[in-house]
Symmetry: none
Subunit: 224 residues, 2 copies
DNA sequence: ATAAAACTTGACGGAATTTTGACATTCTCT
DNA sequence: AGAGAATGTCAAAATTCCGTCAAGTTTTAT
């Protein structure tokens, strides 16, 4: 899953820097240089918002409240101020965290990740059930065939998770590789056929049926 | 346990009356006569909030949403209105119940108690009991194996608390480190395997069984 | 102040996983 | 049918990860 982040700040230099840095970390980034623009860009359905608290026109705090009327996602304030009162005001307006300028990019990334994870944990459906008694529990990362638990390695489970969460769709090896290894991973996506083999063997041994179908020349698909 | 109740209403006469009545029933009461005051008084960590829906300035519904961004507790609306639409609006804003004015004090107490009871059931497990006689008391920070108390250091207990509160889920070392040390802590999350080792040794010595499972390449999980 | 306990660090070996590459098989198209 | 490309199989190599220990540092208790 690749996350979308909306940056709201009126300093183009800063937004430019942040944007490219976040993109390097695999995020999809939208930028708004004004409050109005920010409200428009909410339709990109960001997973997280970085919000400069000092903005001309509508204040960052006001904007925060306005945003809260539309979507639910973590909102992190970027600010030079740091008084306790500011903090209270920000949280009161519906913000989730404060990051004071100047901040390290590492810290920024760490906080973003923390909030995204927390947010994700709050609204993740716990499990996916597929045909004929095979249960894939995504939060526990366990797979059951009837009462029996099947054991999969990390990569194997990640591939199962990706495919079974998007049943009946065909994904080529590059796509799967990107989803599981990461967009910037270097390496040969031909490893996948080996992992697929292992997965198939385990599933077949336990259940006696095929869950992953090869679509020749196109990729693989999870049958449902 | 004595519960804290926050009353939010702009009519001093009413708040005065309610306050003394609730105090007679053993509750600790805070009063806010405006929305701003209400938000400030959230730091008293009320267990329940009585909220007048008709308030000057920020509307009761808005206030309710704002409160919801900060704490989780039952919110009961006090209102003269009673249309179905109002009810829907209120619940949508995050309210838990409606009490229409004028109301009997007995009824009020009854509803408050009902909600407190329900709330307590929902999110205050004072202790976690896991398989075979192991008891983890989170509020006292003590662990028992049958009658015998086991001793854990702070870090050890923190890790046990985090894992056992989220049984069966797998957390990688970074995630555990973040949860226990804090998301902005610097340091090497590899310390965790050493703490895990200590925890396992103590639990094994006392109970003879494994509670923490290693999921290779993914992290650790509390078996339940 | 001193001792004890808790916490952290780094290194090592072994174990499980992941990757690689050679080769076999299957499929598509002519 | 046969060439070429894509996929499947297998075993060995490379890598990553975990458990353990010993030693150093910090914190807490006496």
């Amino acid at each position: 899953m690749t996350y979308r982040i909306l940056i709201v700040d009126d300093e183009p230099i800063l937004t430019e820097l942040l944007s490219s840095h976040l993109q390097d970390h695999g995020y999809t980034v939208s930028v708004a240089n004004s409050s109005d623009e920010a409200l428009e860009k909410l339709n990109t359905k960001p997973n997280l918002i970085l919000l400069d608290i000092n903005m001309p026109g509508m204040d960052g705090l006001e904007l925060c409240k306005a945003i809260r009327n539309h979507i639910v996602c973590p909102i992190l304030f970027l600010t030079a101020r740091i008084t306790e009162q500011d903090k209270v005001n920000g949280l009161r307006a519906g913000g989730d965290d404060y990051i004071t300028k100047p901040f390290g990019l590492q810290e920024l990334i760490a906080r973003i990740e923390a909030h995204l994870r927390r947010d994700e944990r709050n609204n993740r459906p716990p499990e996916v059930v597929t045909s004929q008694g095979l249960i894939i529990n995504l939060s526990d990362r366990k797979v059951f065939w009837n009462e029996q638990e099947l054991s999969f390695s990390k990569r194997e489970f990640d591939i199962i998770e990706f495919l079974s969460s998007n049943p009946n769709q065909v994904f080529d090896k590059e796509r799967i590789y990107e989803a599981v290894w990461g967009y910037d991973a270097e390496g040969d996506s031909s490893v996948i056929k080996e992992h697929i083999r292992k997965i198939r063997a385990k599933l077949m041994q336990a259940s006696g049926s095929e869950y992953i179908e090869t679509v020749w020349g196109m990729g693989y698909r999870w049958k449902k």
